[in-house]
Amino acid sequence: MISLAGRDILHSWGKFVFTGIGLGLLIGVTLVMAGVYRGMVDDAKALLDNSSADLWVVQKDTLGPYAESSSLNDDLYRAILAMPGVAKAANVTYLTMQVRKGDSDVRTMVVGIAPGQPGITPGWPPYLVAGRQITRGHYEAMADIASGFHLGDRIGIRRNQYTVVGLTRRMVSSSGDPMVFIPLKDAQEAQFLKDNDAIWQSRRRTEANPAFNRPSVPGLLDAVIDSQSTNAFVNAVLVTLKAGYTPDEVAESIRRWKRLTVYTRTQMEGILIGKLIATSAKQIAMFLVILAVVSATIVAFIIYSLTMDKIREIAVLKLIGTRNRTIAGMILQQSLALGLIGFVVGKIAATFSAPIFPKYVLLTPMDSVAGFIAVLVICVLASLVAIRMALKVDPAEAIG
């Protein structure tokens, strides 16, 4: 038996191909949307992987340092270092801000890293794609390649200029902003440093406060002003564990004895994926549902129209004894063929357009397989209306 669907497609191939391309672009958008979500999850995981930490110690009762602000005294790491099972503990600051790049600016996450060594001290980028790690205490930076900086470029952060000495790859925040690593002290200053007018105003207020400006206590005013001009806070302490200790037992110990909030890797992943990007994920899921409904409607409409165009032929086919399942099969095969053309076009479009998107788009093979199955299911469902209509055609219509 010849394939009626195949013959019809070959006969009106232009209609099928162009419709398939249109559908394919829609499927391509759907795949990219799924890829954007996967990219967000991957960015979140990359953030955790690249911090090289087993535990995140943050301000009590906060979801810091990524999902909420968190502030800890920068000397707490010493006490944490003394806890059983802790191999390394290092301060870290995170600040998402616009940094200057020549005449323009770039949105980045500025990370302040404590003195140490890559691979040993948590918070340091584990590898570089060019240049070297920071070796000086001030005004050197390592930037992610996605920021557009090159070795030797100057980065303007607040009032200071930093020289890019190393480049990293896939070091991004959970929002996909590229990271810029600078020494911790510089980062603390950048995080809390006010402009000159604000500092001057603050000093004026302190001087005017009789509680601080006591003639009977010489040196008190200077001490207070000094304390206001320096920043002794960090956002989190990153901890690595000694062999033989589990994250949960060390975390529990720190929570109990230091009265701080501690997150393990699993918990932090839950915060990032379950809370930080949850709204975006729901937004994307809504788009995916809408796109799936639109795709189904388009396929249904096209298949319905193609079937309507063939009502007389279907009546003739039924009159000359064609089985209902042959006619239903013809419509179903055409719908699936349309879906197949659409999926191929969509996959190609998504693959070639993904690198152009500003945010990381991760197209996974499993998503493609799931997308393909979804397209086939949508095509089957979309063809049901047309099949129902075709099966209701009276063969007598061919006679008139």
């Binding site: 013959r7 000359i320 004894g321 089985r323 009276d394 006679i399 008139g400």
Partner: protein, 236 residues
């Protein structure tokens, strides 16, 4: 092939019930022998289409018998179960417009019926080509319907009606869209094929040009038929 043509006895078709009942056909009797071509003539609303649909096993008559070849199709409410297969294997249709499947070439349009009956593609195509040769359109065998002239399309349509060697062919206004020369050519072909394949052919027509060619004519009016002898004029 069959040796007994088609016979209907007291065939009636009623639409509606009670006071609103309308009889489209009333005790119609008709017999067409193998190799015979008869005309069925009547004004609009006379019941021609209903009779054609009953003969074509598309709608069920309310009462009466229909015997196709050796097989009883309807018998006062009883009907043969698989009317779809019956239409495919035992009844050929030729329409006013050829209604060829636009995405199949001439050969496959004809070969489709045996293919639907389970005949292998190659064999079905060979049979189709043979029939197209008989009808002198073999040179257009690979052409799509949109590339065929009206006369060629009608010949392909006739070939499709004949391909399964049915005992009866129902031709509904087969010459309506054709000029007189092509119309006579189609009637000649139907006569030739009826004789060659021993097929009973019923031609429903309004076409004054071809009415004189029938040897027997059934007139139908208000659902009642009466038979009369035709002129049986030789083809020009």
């Amino acid at each position: 092939m069959s040796g007994k043509g088609i016979r209907i006895e007291n065939l009636s078709k009623r639409y509606g019930e009670g006071d609103t009942a309308v009889f489209a056909l009333k005790d119609v009797n008709m017999q067409v022998a193998p190799g015979e071509v008869v005309g069925l003539i009547g004004p609009s609303g006379s019941g021609k289409s209903t009779l054609l649909k009953c003969l074509g096993a598309v709608i069920d008559p309310t009462a009466g018998r229909m015997i196709l070849g050796d097989e009883v199709i309807y018998d006062n409410g009883w009907k043969a179960r698989d009317l779809r297969a019956l239409r495919r294997d035992k009844i050929g249709f030729v329409f006013q417009a050829p209604y060829l499947i636009p995405f199949l070439d001439a050969t496959d349009n004809v070969a489709l019926l045996p293919m639907l009956a389970g005949v292998a593609n190659g064999e079905a195509r060979a049979r189709a080509l043979e029939l197209l040769t008989e009808l002198d359109v073999q040179h257009r065998a690979q052409a799509m319907p949109s590339r065929l002239s009206g006369g060629e399309q009608q010949r392909v349509s006739i070939a499709r009606g004949l391909i399964n060697r049915p005992p009866v062919i129902l031709a509904d206004e087969p010459t309506a869209p054709l000029d007189s020369v092509r119309a006579m050519a189609v009637i000649r072909i139907l006569n030739d094929m009826a004789r060659k394949f021993e097929t009973a052919i019923i031609v429903v027509t309004h076409d004054e040009k071809i009415i004189p060619t029938f040897k027997r004519i059934y007139h139908i009016r208000d659902g009642v038929t009466h038979e009369e002898a035709g002129e049986g004029r030789a083809f020009e």
